[in-house]
């Protein structure tokens, strides 16, 4: 029962938010709209063109939806890392260090924002629509891939978030940088990566493994060849990439905490 502590911390956070009902409802709507804007951009784009990087509108929508759902879930759990500078500046971070729990899970559970479910809901709706529209040669494996992809994507995004926010331990106002990486990689992964220039592609596909959030899994689902020449099985490796990213993020976080305790606030 003692291991239920994190669900309890999340529950506490949810109850806190419900003490501000009106602002909660507004935030929820704002989040659905925010997700909608990006959708509108894609739809307008496709009134002018028929294909983007060799992909049809609905195929691009599928990538957009995978990325959106993954980002939404990651935002739910890792988004509160954006508050890290405040934690460090006000000394609240020291309070986390005084508890017999890990700092990262404490922060993740500290500020689960239900309104972010608005974003996830929107993305899932588009995902179901796109899955119904695009030609997929369904097999049990592909069903699993469809379910696993947003989850692996969420882990990848969360890892990116952790690594980017770790910068705040060195530069307390590193939030701008962190946001550029996290939100930037979301914008990036919503489109087929072959539309980007080569250096950006390499950076965002393999250093920040954004291409494994939506692009490669979508290729595998659609049974399409990678225009960039990577073999077809790459689309099935997202969970592995996610595990690797999470491990790296764990190490970076530990290193950052060691730095913090070593040089102080």
């Amino acid at each position: 029962m003692a291991d239920l502590i994190y669900p309890k911390l999340i529950g506490a956070r949810l109850r806190s938010q419900l003490s501000y009902r009106a602002s909660f409802a507004m935030d929820f709507v704002t989040q659905v709209l925010a997700q909608g804007y990006e959708l509108i951009v894609i739809l307008i784009l496709f009134t002018q063109i028929n294909a983007l990087g060799g992909f049809t509108k609905n195929e691009v929508l599928l990538m957009y939806a995978f990325a959106g759902a993954a980002f939404g879930v990651a935002d739910l759990f890792a988004g509160q890392l954006d508050n890290l500078p405040t934690y460090i500046r006000t000394g609240s971070f020291d309070v986390l260090l005084m508890r017999p729990l890990g700092t990262l899970p404490q922060i993740m559970c500290s500020d689960i924002r239900l309104r972010r479910i608005g974003r996830i809901t929107g993305a899932l709706a588009v995902m179901f629509y796109a899955l119904a529209q695009v030609p997929i040669d369904w097999s049990p494996a592909k069903v699993v891939l469809t379910i696993v992809t947003p989850m692996a994507g969420a882990v990848i995004y969360s890892a990116v978030w952790v690594v980017a926010c770790s910068v705040c331990f060195w530069i307390v106002e590193g939030r701008e940088f962190a946001n550029a990486v996290t939100y930037g990689s979301n914008a990036f992964t919503s489109y087929p990566i072959n539309v980007y220039s080569r250096p950006l592609r390499w950076l965002m596909a393999f250093i920040v493994p954004g291409a494994f959030v939506a692009y490669y899994p979508s290729l595998a689902l659609l049974g399409k060849q990678d225009p960039l020449g990577l073999p077809g099985w790459v689309g099935w490796t997202s969970p592995l990439v996610a595990a690797l990213a999470a491990t790296v993020a764990g190490f970076v976080w530990r290193f950052a905490i060691r730095h913090y305790r070593g040089t102080g606030s």
Binding site: L9, A12, S19, D94, L97, R99, P100, R261
Partner: protein, 323 residues
């Protein structure tokens, strides 16, 4: 309970000169050594920037020492942070460990889960704190609506739910009104004497020390200037005491052997007689005085604790200058 040897902590501080950035090393804690036995109550005082908070952060495992050795309740704070967290309670006067938007009781419930306290122990300890600190009415109030004094009582309860042997308090009475301060002191004195909880507290309010801490440690510039019972320190740095006498009729001050200085006020109605505590006792002095003049009232004044600490700083400065 606490063992500290040759503790040192340096910080790199950025100093900007134009566009160039230089770093200089500042030593916040510079070779601090002390021991605290189980059951003691120790006041840790010093001016701002003296190294108090840095020491506390190292004792609680938040910061890792640059060099030196610390053991707290048998644990190395920098290596076994989580282990230590289960054994000690920490209260920071200026930051909260309660959940801002939730009722006080919810914070306690969460801490019970975090520290894995059994339901039975939890109820017993909570009931005790609630009763002694008068929290009954406040348990259902969201923390954000509590006054500072009420919140501090909540913070202290929160720190005691896992029954730590050592309670570390960093400026627990800062910003509180007199009544709240007194209530906290009374409670802390009680858990120290009755339950045997070791207390280590930093403070700017010297009444806290007078009331709570038989032992005082004074730190400045990262070094311990003095460490010992308050009475001894007082005797050591301020050898003078003062006898204040109010006369029935205005008149000259009595001429008594052993008095080193006389100050008169109210046209000779009141006289302050300074004497050395090592040479004369107050009793001897009073016997002499009442033989010579008709006394309306008299009092023996001990130097204020502020004076003691100021003198300690002064003594250190003098030594530094001489070196």
């Amino acid at each position: 309970m606490i063992e500290v040897r040759e503790l040192r902590r340096e910080f790199k501080v950025a100093t900007s000169k134009g566009l160039r950035r230089n770093y200089k090393t500042v030593t916040a804690v510079d070779g601090v050594t002390f021991e605290v036995q189980a059951g003691e109550a120790v006041g840790y005082v010093g001016p701002n920037g003296a190294g108090k908070s840095t020491t506390i952060k190292m004792l609680t495992g938040i910061l890792v020492p640059t060099s030196g050795h610390i053991t707290v309740d048998g644990v190395d704070p920098s290596r076994q942070r989580r282990d230590l967290a289960k054994r000690i309670g920490v209260v920071f006067g200026q930051r909260s460990q309660l959940w801002w938007d939730l009722p006080l009781r919810d914070s306690f419930d969460l801490l019970r889960s975090i520290y894995r306290v059994s339901a039975e122990d939890y109820r017993k300890r909570l009931d005790e704190c609630v009763e002694l600190l008068g929290l009954q009415e406040l348990l259902i109030t969201p923390v954000r609506q509590l006054s500072l004094g009420q919140r501090m009582r909540g913070e202290i309860t929160a720190a005691l739910l896992h029954a730590p042997e050592l309670l570390v308090l960093d400026e627990p009475t800062i910003g509180l009104d007199l009544e709240s301060k007194e209530r906290l002191r009374e409670f802390l004195a009680d858990i120290n004497t009755r339950r045997g909880t070791t207390l280590l507290l930093t403070t700017h309010d010297l009444d806290d020390i007078e009331r709570l801490c038989p032992r005082l440690m004074v730190i400045d510039h990262g070094r311990v200037l003095a460490d010992g019972p308050l009475d001894e320190l007082r005797a050591e740095v301020t050898p003078d005491r003062e006898l204040v006498i109010d006369l029935r009729e205005p008149g000259p001050a009595p001429d008594v052997p052993g008095v080193t200085a006389v100050r008169s006020e109210a046209n000779g109605l009141r006289h302050h007689l300074t004497f050395r505590r090592a040479e004369t006792t107050a009793a001897q002095l009073i016997t002499q005085v009442v033989r010579q003049v008709e006394v309306h009232d008299l009092a023996v004044v001990e130097p204020e604790i502020d004076d003691v600490i100021r003198k300690l700083y002064q003594r250190q400065l003098d030594q530094d200058v001489r070196r």
